[in-house]
Symmetry: C2
Subunit: 616 residues, 2 copies
């Protein structure tokens, strides 16, 4: 444990010892980088997260962003922190240098994001949405659009939003009704309302660039009829100075359970008939363009789930080490209280969190790493291969850590006991904040449908099957280590059962109807997540076993007893042994339950569909 946000030692282990992402530097695109510089950057990121962002988040929860007489006020301190964040290069961390970025690999940005998100997700929404909106303009905008908007956004002067949701179009994006009409000059008039617009309005940027999904009059219903428009809060002159207001107005903010530092706005476009929208890309390409950022956005939200898990764990751990309560089991003495980490129930809960967090960290970083591989792939085949891996993993990277976020924030409160339920400690905020991550950027249910009905079926199921097969190499390596047979046998058993689910779902669809795979999608995704996390844990354990053995050799520790004593006192040995214990804990305590989840799926029960609506 190094700090209260993220275990920096494990971040670096996962990046440089497990995934070996520094190998990316062999490629021309990342030739300027190396492990040492990555490490220094991440340490800086951690310090910034800890000293600036985290206190701002705790403060921001108290009152939150405010709406007053038509104006939105961000949490005091946001502007200064945003300026620092941009000036430190984090907004454009993984943009190419040619576009004014730092040219960092996505995986390093992801690792930094874990720290930033753990510290302050509401703040990071400003950065993420601005980045994503600018990126879409970069990819699909005309030269003029690029000239007008991108630089100001990447420099932190203007922010951006993604304006999708409407009252009747949440998960059902295709129902969007905001109306666009063609003007004679090639622009469009926008009229309608959007809700739940993150950072829809605030007080610290000169302009806010909205990317608005709308339907041009006469275009067909459904997602196919949607186009995307640039609609700035203030119109922009050709020289990038600001012109007239663009008839975009914030009507109010949501009062939310959490992430209060992030203003969630209801936005009205064209109340006076004067909102000009500039088409991005082609007409009716709105969804295609918007979905271009989907993988990155979903990975980011998943990383926030991971951040919530991590910040919850680090806090609970610190508390468990300090808080004294109850007596020792071995030497009970009413006059002597022990630190609660000595109680098996507390230790079990901490280990449950630690194991998941480490495995999810591997999964999420690996997904970022695969994105980097897409970017540098030398052949179309390589590109396709890595891209399908990303596509397969995105739903689980989004859904699994966000669901665990709610669970682990709740565990953290439990470890704090009654104190955790009070506002004297931040853990109750973590729980309140966490829940929305399971909802936005596609609910867990939407991720599951994407996974079970689209991703698993890619290339006739070969991507999924191949991904599972590829796990074998690492599992076999683990199997060769002393004491691992029982664990790797369990992993193979679970993985095999999981591999049979696509066929089961297909058969179910044929025999029981089209609803069947939809009914089983979420449990399937959940079981898949367990197996993926187990794989990354086994992988890290194989690395840790080797390094720990080398450490023992170096210290000339031969017998079991002196090795155990060493692990108890030496930080590095304790860390490496902790990786091994995480993997063992997860396999022994979670995978048998995963077997149960798969068995439940295989049962083929349809009672939830059979039950009449009146029966509920």
């Amino acid at each position: 444990m190094a700090n209260l946000l993220v275990d920096e030692r494990d971040v670096k282990f996962t990046l440089f010892e497990q995934l070996k992402v520094q190998d990316l530097c062999q490629h021309a695109r990342y030739a300027g980088w190396n492990e040492k510089v990555f490490g220094m950057l991440l340490s800086e990121a951690r310090k910034f997260a800890e000293k600036e962002l985290f206190p701002l988040n705790i403060e921001g929860d108290k009152e939150g962003a405010r709406f007053d007489q038509g104006a939105v006020y961000s949490v005091p301190g946001t502007a200064a922190a945003y300026r620092k964040f941009v000036d430190n290069g984090w907004l454009t961390a993984s943009e190419e240098e040619a576009h004014g970025g730092q040219g960092l690999p996505q995986v390093i940005k992801s690792a930094a994001h874990e720290m930033f998100f753990a510290a302050n997700f509401p703040f990071m929404c400003y950065a993420n949405l601005t980045h994503d909106a600018a990126k879409l303009i970069e990819l699909f905008g005309t030269e003029e659009q690029k000239h007008l908007y991108i630089e100001k956004m990447y420099l932190g002067d203007w922010t951006g939003t993604m304006a999708l949701t409407e009252p009747e179009a949440g998960s059902d994006v295709g129902n969007i009704g905001l109306k666009a009409t063609r003007n004679v000059d090639g622009t469009y008039g926008l009229v309608g309302q959007k809700i739940f617009i993150t950072n829809g309005d605030h007080d610290f940027a000169d302009n806010i660039v909205h990317l608005v999904l709308a339907r041009i009059e006469g275009d067909p219903p459904g997602t196919k009829g949607l186009s995307i428009f640039i609609a700035p809060k203030v119109r922009v002159n050709a020289d990038r100075t600001l012109g007239a207001a663009n008839d975009v107005r914030c009507i109010g903010l949501e009062h939310k359970m959490g992430i209060k530092g992030s203003p969630t706005a209801t936005m009205s476009f064209g109340e006076k008939g004067e909102c000009v929208g500039y088409l991005l890309g082609q007409e009716r390409d709105g969804i295609k363009i918007m979905f271009h950022m989907m993988n990155a956005s979903r990975l980011a939200v998943g990383m926030w789930g991971q951040g919530i898990c991590s910040v919850s764990y680090q806090h609970a751990l610190k508390y468990a080490l300090e808080r004294k309560q109850g007596q020792s089991i071995e030497n009970p003495d009413p006059a002597t209280q022990v630190a609660i980490i000595e109680h098996p129930e507390i230790r079990r809960t901490l280990m449950l969190m630690k194991a998941h967090i480490e495995g999810m960290r591997g999964m999420l970083y690996f997904c970022g790493y695969a994105m980097d591989q897409v970017a540098i792939a030398g052949s179309d085949e390589d590109k396709r291969k890595w891209q399908s891996l990303v596509d397969l993993l995105i739903p689980i990277c989004k859904a699994y850590p966000t669901e665990k976020g709610v669970e682990f924030a709740s565990h953290a409160i439990q470890i704090y006991g009654g104190y955790g339920y009070t506002k004297d400690y931040p853990v109750e905020q973590f729980l309140r904040d966490s829940k929305v991550a399971c909802i936005f950027e596609g609910t867990t249910g939407i991720q599951a449908i994407d996974f079970a009905l689209r991703k698993v079926r890619m290339q006739k199921g070969e991507v999924f099957a191949c991904f599972l097969r590829d796990m074998d190499r690492m599992v076999e390596q683990a199997a060769a280590l002393p004491g691992w047979e029982k664990y790797t046998a369990q992993m193979q058993r679970t993985k095999t059962a999981l591999g049979e689910l696509p066929a089961h779902l297909a058969l179910g669809a044929a025999e029981k109807g089209a609803h069947y795979p939809f009914l089983k999608a979420t449990p399937f995704l959940d079981a898949f997540g367990d197996v993926v996390v187990a794989w990354f844990l086994i992988w890290s354990a194989v690395v840790a076993e080797e390094k720990l053995e080398a450490l023992f050799q170096k210290k000339k520790l031969e017998d079991q007893e002196s090795r155990l004593a060493f692990v108890r006192t030496n930080a590095d040995a304790a860390f490496l042994d902790g990786k091994i214990q995480s993997a063992r804990f997860f396999i022994a305590n979670i995978l048998p339950i995963t077997d149960g989840k798969i068995a439940a799926l295989q049962w083929g029960d349809v009672s939830a569909l059979v039950a009449a609506e009146k029966s509920f």
Copy 2:
């Protein structure tokens, strides 16, 4: 679905068709009652809960109880609602008529409490604590103490509290340090602070009677050295008029995540050396006396967990029936949105909630019913038998529904989508409120230790084994019904595996050390909960199958198709069929996972204990 709190139809089914609690009326003690009157009372309770208590709860969450310049202000409307509650006889519902009570069976009070707790737990804390404090005085007080306090409390003029917790004594009750010194007149001087005192102070009663756990100077450390004292806020004259203030002061209120309507106070006793405490019972009998209310208090908190589950489900169900979003799977049409209950993922989640809620309802009511059996038992043997059943069930009745409360409130938010995360709907409040139920009256971990290390071992394990054996009768009845073999076989498989766990834990303790059963206690309790809930669901399905068949016969419906059509349109048939679907859903979707939990337990993993403290 009848209302937004609790399914009254299922409440009555569970009481009168499944458990047949009206049979209690054959006993002299309950001779004045019958099913019809019980039913009318419960309908009244539901209306009161719906119309008075629930709106007060939603309002109470906004500002909550306030502390201002030394005084505590309850939520406006509390005083009037409390008066009505008392006048309607609910405070003393299950007290004997001789003591001014209504003489209702505990199980009927429990069912009413489910409704009241679903509506407004913070409000109900006033009632519960007053009742429990008065009850302890009734059971252990001197004639003078009874004369002075009970009537005023039962009449609703004074309220009561239980003052246990101190900063260093939460779960570790034995560490209580509040000091009592003997006065020459036989009273005691109390000096010290208590924290987390529910309703420690407020503005709507003439007096507040605190029951304070304290240690008399010179008494030994640990729970054995604790005594319990009556310490009223205002001293009481012999004629029950109020005398001088008793040097009891509220220092402040906690700012909590939820249950904001309930003032959680830090209380200072004897700051000026003038707090008089009156010993209740004998010196050093404090814990014994306090624990006398423990079963009732824990059942009440479990019932609140149930209430949270129920109010979350009823809201989510209503929303799912009304909210339109997305297209039909069978007939997709972008122009037509369907109610979200048509989406399999929503239906699965609702069924998951419904099945658990119905099974837990059976479990909780049964526990109340067993308490009634203790009260009327004709022989010592009967009394012992029922009492051991209560003792066995209390930990699961407390822990399981409260854990599900957090989970299901979160599911309700998920069904509401982004709206559920806003304060425009009450579901986010349900989640915030729910969490503390897993903490107070003994955390889930404490319940698990009580279960696995004490209750399971009662009478050399015979109570536990016998309880599992007793399930067989109902399971065998189900097995004889067409289409049930697979379900009952699953139940028997899981139950058998569960039955082997006590031996496994004993062996683990012998081989791996005393920590072992503590490490496995919570997963064991959780698996036990699944099996108990499954049993109550099977039981209710057996009853429902018979009644549904009778209904079909009565309507002369022979073929499957006309029966299905009838179920879809007739409320009673839909309800009964829904009970059958609940049981099937639970067995098919949950019990295989329970098998996994048990297999994980049987693995015997101790990695969480093995891992060095530095490894975390």
